[in-house]
């Protein structure tokens, strides 16, 4: 046989995961696949359906009532059972924390894995109106070991002209040894059932991989705060013609923020911040609408979880908001470092302060609070300012998805006003 082996090799490598997983390949392909064994059966926009101009925004499924929702949980493989995780119970929270720590999202080279802290999970999973039954786990019946998890939290999301009661789906995680058992589709169907039982029919979620069918595709950008460490752990690289000394100088930040009147956000700021935030988010095609209660939850300053600051003008009027959350990653197999502390841009509202200055203050504060890198997407107005603030483009994309909701037009990143954890 004379033909070279490359085509076989490529086909095999590219397709073996598709074959094994079907529903949820973990590749970051930029091209749609031909078949989505699971997502093809779900009420989500599909690739190649009728021309976008022919549809209006609206639900995909025919409307149903709560009475029509399946009463009993979906079946699991033998030896597994459903469990509702109680986040208030430290031991159960620890189980989720440990499952995610060992089995959650990694990069392509297995160098970093998200390490959500327990405090972060409490913040992320218990916003106002949260439902315990949407903290949905799977245990091994015989031993009780938690091996899979998925969560939903309530959120009011405006998509173009429509205000939707939705859940944000997050933290879908299956133990590495069980990825072949196709638990993920069952988890998604079960959380959908539990959400439908509360008369909620739409969901929003994000993913790095391409599934049917994104409502928006956004790009990650990274700003080095601690370049030496980022290079040391392989997050970034020292440019071949750049000295470390000059790299450090390039990314050096002031010790303190530059905007007068900038201070940590306090409980008393909630009414003004709510107003500031909602009126800013009204300018975006997909964005949450937050109650004061939700602002009080999502933007309450909490060290190593959520950092929130306001700019107070004369007379106590708040003019600007900036915030970022902390998400560390474990560094796998590095002798010098075992953890990388990343700040992720959260909700930031420029009012009296130009956005570049506000963001530079965010970088300064993230640096002075011990973060190694500041991550942002090209959502909001970021696309225009990230380069000047010395962000470098990332190798990851984030796609936004809607469940049971179709949009007539894809939403461009600069019209996305929603940040998910």
């Amino acid at each position: 046989m004379s033909c070279p082996p490359e085509p076989v090799e490529q086909d095999g490598l590219a397709e073996r995961l598709r074959a094994a997983l079907g529903a949820l390949t973990m590749e970051d392909d930029s091209q749609p696949k031909q078949n989505y064994a699971f997502w093809g059966t779900q009420p989500v926009a599909q690739f190649g359906e009728q021309p976008a101009s022919a549809v209006e925004d609206g639900p995909i499924d025919t409307p149903k009532t709560v009475e029509e929702v399946r009463k009993e949980p979906y079946g699991l493989p033998q030896n597994f059972e459903w469990v509702t995780c109680n986040i208030d119970n430290d031991a159960e929270l620890k189980e989720i924390y440990e499952l995610l720590s060992a089995h959650y999202v990694e990069d392509d080279d297995n160098m970093f894995r998200f390490a959500y802290s327990k405090e972060f999970l409490r913040w992320a999973l218990q916003p106002p109106g949260f439902k315990a039954v949407w903290h949905c786990g799977v245990r091994v019946s015989s031993t009780g070991r938690l091996v899979a998890f998925i969560s939903g939290i309530p959120a009011t999301i405006r998509v173009n002209g429509n205000t939707l009661s939705t859940v944000e789906i997050n933290f879908l995680c299956v133990h590495k040894k069980l990825r072949h058992k196709r638990l993920a589709p069952v988890l998604i169907k079960e959380i959908t059932r539990r959400v439908n039982q509360h008369d909620i029919w739409q969901a929003v979620y994000t993913a790095g991989l391409l599934l049917p069918k994104p409502v928006a595709e956004c790009q990650y950008w990274h700003r080095s705060l601690n370049p030496k460490k980022l290079i040391g752990v392989g997050f970034s690289r020292l440019a071949p013609r750049m000295t470390m000394a000059r790299t450090l100088k390039l990314y050096k930040l002031p010790d303190v923020p530059q905007t007068p009147g900038l201070r940590q956000m306090e409980a008393k700021d909630v009414p003004q911040v709510t107003q500031l935030l909602n009126s800013y988010l009204a300018g975006y095609s997909i964005a949450p609408h937050m109650s004061e209660e939700e602002v009080a939850h999502w933007l309450a300053f909490q060290t190593d979880v959520i950092y929130s600051y306001v700019v107070e003008g004369p007379g106590g009027k708040l003019t600007d908001l900036l915030s970022f959350y902390t998400l560390p990653s474990s560094v796998i197999g590095n002798e010098q470092y075992d953890s990388l502390k990343a700040a992720y841009m959260f909700y930031t509202v420029p009012g009296a302060t130009p956005l570049p200055q506000l963001m530079n203050d965010a970088l300064t504060l993230a640096h002075s609070t011990g973060h190694d890198v500041f991550n942002a997407l090209d959502i909001f107005e970021n696309g225009k300012i990230l380069k000047d603030l010395k962000f470098g483009i990332g190798d990851g994309k984030l796609r936004y998805y809607l469940f049971n909701w179709r949009v007539a037009q894809d939403i461009t990143p600069n019209k996305v006003g929603l940040v998910m954890l």
Binding site: C3, E15, D28, E106, D107, D108, V140, Y220, R241, L327
Partner: protein
């Protein structure tokens, strides 16, 4: 053949906790075995462990197992590779997906009897366990992408600076012996000594000093090679420079910092030097 069993067989101490799960759950599905087998074949194809003929046979069975009967027309005469693949798939006509999977496993067992022992352990490199770069929900792991400017373009800097950057002591020595100026500067006012200090190339550093490089050369920000070594945490280079005759350990940069100011806290040999 079960992936769980092969994992258990290959388990080492660190994987022991993981493998308890296999005991709890019993053998995993044939789908997992197929995934593991395809993963092994993919890796073996890369390493050249399987012949072209074997790979084509795997290809045909794989396509039949995952996509069913071939429906595409036969590629044209000059597409030899395409025709070979087409034929391999065609040869599997009539097999059910399960049969194709079983034959795939059988073929692999014949072609590489020990394959299951290779696969296993953590399962992440050779095995069939997919990574979760980003499942549904939350952010994805993104790193700084390498930009094209870093990869391309010719290096216009003088040969001596290039050698110092690369740590090529013999090239630096040759360049110096042929009369290169040891104190020539790059675009930011940095000398070869700065590069050697920044990258921690001790041999180049010694050669430069031996040929009369200015140990106190300041770049356009007033940083000396000792500043560079301290900033870049190149301890050996810093120790060499700190011991060089005539070195000014109290040299101040444009921002007023001495090498000791920018050195790691535990570098007593530099940090204590300010006072003296």
């Amino acid at each position: 053949m079960s992936a769980a069993a092969s994992s258990a067989a290959a388990a080492d101490g660190s994987a022991a906790a993981e493998d308890e799960l296999d005991d709890e759950l019993g053998p995993s599905s044939s789908l997992a075995a197929f995934a593991a087998a395809t993963a092994y074949v993919g890796a073996a194809a890369t390493s050249g462990a399987l012949s072209d003929a074997q790979l084509l046979r795997f290809y045909g069975l794989y396509k039949q197992a995952t996509e069913g009967p071939r429906t595409t027309p036969k590629p044209g005469f000059f597409d030899r590779r395409g025709r070979a693949k087409w034929q391999a798939w065609q040869d599997c006509a009539g097999l059910s997906p399960a049969q194709a999977q079983a034959q795939y496993a059988g073929l692999l067992a014949d072609a590489a009897p020990g394959w299951a022992g290779v696969h296993g352990g953590s399962g992440e490199t050779a095995g069939g366990v997919p990574k979760q770069r980003g499942g549904v929900g939350g952010p994805v792991q993104s790193r700084m992408a390498q930009t094209e400017e870093e990869e391309e373009g010719c290096d216009a800097s003088p040969p001596l600076l290039q050698a110092a950057r690369a740590g090529d002591a013999s090239a630096a020595e040759a360049s110096l012996s042929m009369g290169a100026d040891p104190n020539q500067r790059g675009a930011e006012g940095e000398a070869a000594l700065h590069w050697a200090a920044d990258r921690g190339h001790a041999a180049v550093l010694r050669a430069l000093l031996h040929h009369g490089a200015d140990v106190n050369a300041a770049d356009c920000d007033g940083l000396t090679p000792l500043h560079y070594a301290a900033l870049a945490e190149q301890r050996e280079a810093a120790e060499l420079l700190a011991a060089a005759p005539g070195v000014r350990r109290d040299a101040r940069s444009a921002e007023g910092e001495t090498p000791g100011d920018v050195a790691p806290a535990d570098w007593a040999f530099l940090r204590g030097a300010d006072a003296s």
